[in-house]
């Protein structure tokens, strides 16, 4: 039996350790106290004023000094108490990170226990997620994020917002204030919101001013090389321009967008070629900057993104249909690929949307970058995804062209949509619960809530089993949908997400904040895990219990409850059963059916709970490993505690018929029903460089068959094996873990093992 011991779970899915905060503990504490007092001094019905007052406590104070190679500014730290959107940078809404406060208590060696405990007491009542969890967890069904003991977890968070930077850059700060002021005249009932928006823009100007002063002081006091002096002077000009006016160069545009993103707390940075391309081309034409300058600038921007170490976010999107000026955007796109290749960083998650008819040089450059092992850009197929989004979000083609993947791969409409994944379901754990008559084989607790499952001994056919499974999933999904809709209510009651609202359509137009009716498309997503293990498990049951009658359902229960102890031969049968990823019709059909069922069932809930869409995403952010740690043994031969397969992909090593077979299997999973899936493929460097044309043909064929995206991992198998045994020798090895990239050496051991075993097409 596998011992039922859980490894400690991090709050989010952190992999790279964050850099230490700039402010001292005492300085942080002072801000945390002031923030809390400020929050407490407002009434619940003053949420906009309260949000702005609280933000004023933080900004610009939490910005830290620039680094000596920064070409643009904007580095800040999130404190244990503050305001945010996502769990990787603080937490959503007004938050308190209790784990971080506990750590702080220890660092103060008990001296500040009183004040810190008082803070925690306050925030236990007011922290956005705490408020949400109080009323939205269903006993024995849903847990908090990420409580792996449950088959489903729910949370309140505001991930995946992509702002309309064009709106900001076209007007500049003062210009945008003017737009809002005019609107205020039309909709006086929304004055409080509009005033808050104007105040937010004012605060942004103040933050820019703060940075102007920093740069001016450095220019006077520091010993700078002539090159550095020129860079700082150029930066100063840009900052002065955007403090109130419209940007007039790539550096000023990039700077304004970046500082805005920082204040808004968003961690995905838009279709960057779309909003910076025109500025870049103008600069190149006028000689204001050279191609090399542009690449340096982009790299500097990348470093600012990387240091946030969100691990699962940090997306920058280039390419794709629907950009304002394709030609100019392509110029930026190509230079950005070059910068990415040079920088070899784990973030940003540099993403290329491609389409038939795109400049072919772009794909060649992209493959050239991937070949170096940096794993970027991630490739997204517009020709499949745009029609998909039209179908799933019920929008027209032009709107669908605004789709962007955020985080680990969830789709959202840029500048006009919400798509945060506030519910996660573990399909494999759910199956193990069903197979054990409602009781989880990990901790032997009942997890079927108020839903009765038919006892397994009474199941007479495979179809009946599959039906029971669907019923259980349906039960979880419906509960999840209610929680998801409620998470928006909870957040909306507490905050306006003012910065985000300004640059999300149609908040200004409607005079409503983003979750209050302002956003054009109020969608959401539901992350599913363990899909392929579940499909493989169903296949094994079908074959062994119902087709070949080698096992009864009762015997199956016994085998799994005992983690295969004493059942070596049966475990072998299970491992030998057909697995997804080998282009085998029977098991692939089951995987497709499971996918279609979950997608349709989830989508069907949207209308009932007041969402414009609610869609399945099958992505990976290490949760497949973390949640696998608390999932019992499964009929695919997987032992309790072992990692689950990565997103939509076959279990590591289960695909043995080569990449064409694997891609054929993947192509059977319909892309037009979900809001994002992840397809990983790995090649040795040797294969990828020596057979570039054939690999290209492989990808092209897959995309034509309906493949939505590909994440390409280029590694030497020897390199990986060596990295597994001697991590100290491979500190720079970057691998993709499904929806994000990480330094191999920073990953947990069992995640490392899983990646090592992931099929390498030699």
């Amino acid at each position: 039996m596998i011992e039922r011991v859980l490894r400690k779970n991090e709050q989010n899915v952190a992999v790279a350790p964050k850099e230490p905060l700039y402010l001292s503990d005492l300085e942080q504490l002072e801000l945390m106290v002031r923030y809390t007092q400020t929050h407490a001094s407002y009434r619940e019905d003053q949420k906009f004023e309260r949000e702005m007052a609280c933000l004023r406590v933080l900004f610009p104070r939490v910005f830290r000094p620039m680094y000596e190679d920064d070409l643009i500014v904007g580095r800040y730290d999130s404190l244990p108490i503050g305001f945010g959107s996502v769990t990787s940078v603080g937490a959503p809404g007004h938050y308190c990170r209790f784990d971080q406060v506990e750590k702080m208590k220890k660092r103060f060696k008990g001296e500040k226990d009183d004040v810190l405990n008082e803070l925690m007491d306050y925030w236990k009542i007011h922290d956005t997620r705490e408020v949400f969890y109080r009323d939205n967890l269903v006993e024995n069904v849903s847990g908090r994020f990420v409580d792996v003991l449950y088959p489903m977890i729910v949370t309140a968070r505001f991930s995946g917002m992509y702002l309309d930077y064009n709106l900001l850059l076209d007007h500049g700060i003062d210009g945008l204030k003017e737009v809002i002021s005019l609107k205020k005249r039309d909709l006086p009932a929304s004055s409080t919101l509009y005033d808050a928006m104007i105040d937010a823009l004012k605060l942004l100007s103040e933050t820019i001013h703060h940075h102007i002063q920093e740069v001016e002081v450095k220019l006077i006091n520091q010993q700078l090389s002539p090159k550095r002096r020129r860079q700082m002077e150029r930066l100063l000009i840009a900052l002065k321009q955007i403090e109130h006016g419209k940007p007039n160069s790539m550096i000023s545009a990039m700077q304004l967008a970046w500082l805005y993103s920082s204040m808004a707390g968003v961690v995905n940075f838009g279709r960057m070629d779309d909003y910076l391309g025109d500025y870049l081309v103008a600069d190149l034409k006028s000689g204001k900057c050279s191609e090399q300058d542009a690449i340096d600038l982009i790299e500097s921007q990348w470093r600012l993104i990387e240091v946030k170490r969100t691990n699962v976010n940090g997306r920058v999107i280039v390419g794709g249909k629907g950009r304002r000026n394709e030609e100019n955007a392509d110029v930026f796109c190509k230079l950005a690929i070059e910068a990415t290749k040079r920088a070899q960083l784990v973030e940003p998650q540099f993403t290329l949307r491609f389409y038939e008819g795109m400049d072919p040089e772009i794909m060649d450059k992209a493959l050239g970058s991937i070949a170096t092992g940096v794993t970027y850009p991630i490739l997204y197929n517009d020709d499949v995804n745009v029609p998909s989004v039209m179908n799933t979000m019920h929008v027209d083609e032009k709107t669908a062209e605004n789709y962007v993947p955020f985080g680990c791969g969830e789709f959202v409409l840029s500048g006009m949509g919400v798509g945060t994944p506030n519910v996660c379901v573990n399909l494999l754990k759910s199956l193990t619960i069903l197979l054990n008559d409602g009781v989880d084989t990990w901790d032997f607790k009942p997890r079927n809530g108020s839903h009765s499952t038919k006892p397994m001994k009474d199941i007479e056919s495979f179809d009946e089993l599959f039906d029971e499974y669907k019923k259980l999933l349906s039960y979880y999904i419906q509960i999840g949908s209610v929680a998801h809709a409620n998470s928006y209510r909870t957040m909306n009651q507490a905050v306006g997400f003012i910065y985000t609202s300004i640059l999300t359509h149609d908040c200004i137009g409607r005079g409503k904040s983003v979750l209050d009716g302002g956003v054009r498309h109020l969608g959401g997503t539901n992350e599913m895990y363990g899909n392929m293990n579940a499909a493989d498990s169903l296949m094994a049951i079908k074959q062994l219990v119902f087709d070949e009658k080698k096992l009864t359902m009762t015997e199956l229960q016994e085998v799994l409850r005992n983690d295969f102890d004493g059942y070596d031969e049966i475990k072998e049968w299970m491992l030998e059963a057909p697995k997804f990823g080998n282009d085998l019709e029977e098991v692939d059909k089951i995987a497709a059916e499971l996918h279609e069922f979950t997608c349709n069932e989830v989508a069907a809930q949207a209308e009932k709970v007041g969402l414009d869409s609610w869609l399945v995403v099958v992505i990976n952010n290490q949760v497949n490993t973390e949640w696998g740690r608390a999932t019992g043994s499964s009929p695919d031969g997987r032992i309790a505690g072992m990692y689950m397969s990565n997103a939509n992909n076959p279990q590591s090593g289960a695909d043995v018929n080569g990449p064409t077979a694997m891609l054929n299997s993947l192509a059977k999973i319909r892309a037009d029903l979900s809001a994002g899936t992840v397809q990983n493929i790995k090649f040795s460097r040797r294969m990828f460089t020596m057979e570039r044309e054939k690999v290209k043909a492989l990808f092209t064929t897959y995309f034509r068959k309906g493949g939505p995206q590909l994440m390409v991992n280029i590694v030497n198998q020897e390199e990986l094996t060596d990295a597994y045994h001697h991590p100290e020798r491979h500190r720079d090895l970057i691998v993709r873990v499904g929806g994000f990239s990480a330094r191999y050496v920073n990953l947990d051991r069992d995640v490392q093992k899983e990646i090592l075993e992931r099929t390498c097409n030699e």
Binding site: D583, G658, T660, N664, M690, K694, A697, K705
Partner: protein, 303 residues
């Protein structure tokens, strides 16, 4: 012949002809090349294979054969593969699947279904299907039946052969096959018996293919000190001159990689030297010296 004996079907083959291909490896070969890198292809019957790494020492196989030819040593079964070469019953005896088989029978229909799974990839990459082995020619009637079906579906076909054709079958293939990969193993007649098991003249096949106007890629495994003589390269240049249908010469450096599983060897396998940089440099020089054209050495065009 309604069934073929095949020991592997490899999808996404990139070294057996143009584009992305599926290569079918037929079991059975009339030659006994000492350096053969897939000697499980040689015997023309199904053979038992054994993978020691899967063995858990349970001893079920020992019981099954009543101790004849299998013993347990250090927790692993030690198997007399010659004795049990065709004892396929052992496969189901082992709970860890340590015994397997080299060779499976397949019908035309199943083979066609299998290779057609990748038709989209063939189309995008100008690839297709390659019949290899072993000696594919030995099963030509079966292959022809497959070729007929595949040609109806517009698939490009490549035949990979050793150059040995005692039954003079090559003429029968030219109506169906688009491209030929022909081995050129040795220039020195006197060495044939020793190194490949029998004497034959590959030029006979090349002549037939020239007459049929078929493109040929010459495949030359190079074993340092054994067949990479200066004369060998000279002969290559003569071949290139006399057979203009040779569109490419592949130089294939000898390697020692072998499969994990053991089985009964029917050739007299020997291990040779693997070429180092110095030897490869010598090969490149010979290629230049003899003015050889369209030469490919491990994906790199030289000469």
């Amino acid at each position: 012949m309604n069934k073929g004996l095949v020991f592997d079907i490899q999808r996404f083959s990139v070294n057996d002809g143009p584009g992305i291909r599926t290569t079918i490896f037929f079991k059975g070969c009339g030659l006994r090349c000492r350096w053969c890198h897939n000697p499980e292809s040689i015997a023309s019957y199904v053979q038992l294979s054994y993978d020691e790494s899967r063995c858990n020492g349970c001893g079920k196989c020992v019981d099954f054969v009543q101790g004849n030819g299998i013993t347990l040593e250090n927790g692993k079964a030690v198997v007399d593969m010659q004795l049990h070469d065709q004892n396929l019953a052992l496969i189901d005896v082992c709970p860890k699947k340590a015994f397997g088989r080299f060779g499976d029978e397949i019908t035309v229909e199943d083979l066609v279904d299998e290779v057609m799974k990748d038709k989209d990839y063939y189309e995008t990459s100008n690839g297709g299907v390659t019949f290899s082995g072993g000696e594919a020619l030995n099963q030509w009637p079966f292959i022809q039946a497959c070729a007929i079906e595949l040609k109806k579906r517009n698939i490009h076909l490549t035949l990979d052969v050793s150059g040995n054709d005692p039954a003079k079958l090559i003429g029968q293939t030219t109506d169906w096959i688009d491209l030929y990969l022909v081995d050129y193993k040795l220039s020195d007649d006197s060495k044939y018996e020793k190194y490949v098991g029998r004497r034959f003249d590959p030029k006979i096949m090349l002549e037939a293919l020239l007459e049929a106007k078929k493109d040929v890629v010459l495949r030359c495994v190079l074993i340092p000190g054994i067949n990479d003589t200066t004369d060998h390269f000279k002969q290559l240049s003569l071949l290139q001159e006399n057979y203009p249908n040779i569109t490419q010469i592949d130089l294939l450096p000898y390697h020692k990689l072998r499969k994990k599983q053991v089985f009964h060897l029917v050739n007299e396998r020997e291990f040779y030297e693997v070429a180092d940089e110095r030897v490869r440099k010598y090969w490149r020089e010979e290629v230049t010296k003899n003015k050889l054209k369209n030469v490919v050495l491990e994906n790199e065009r030289i000469g």
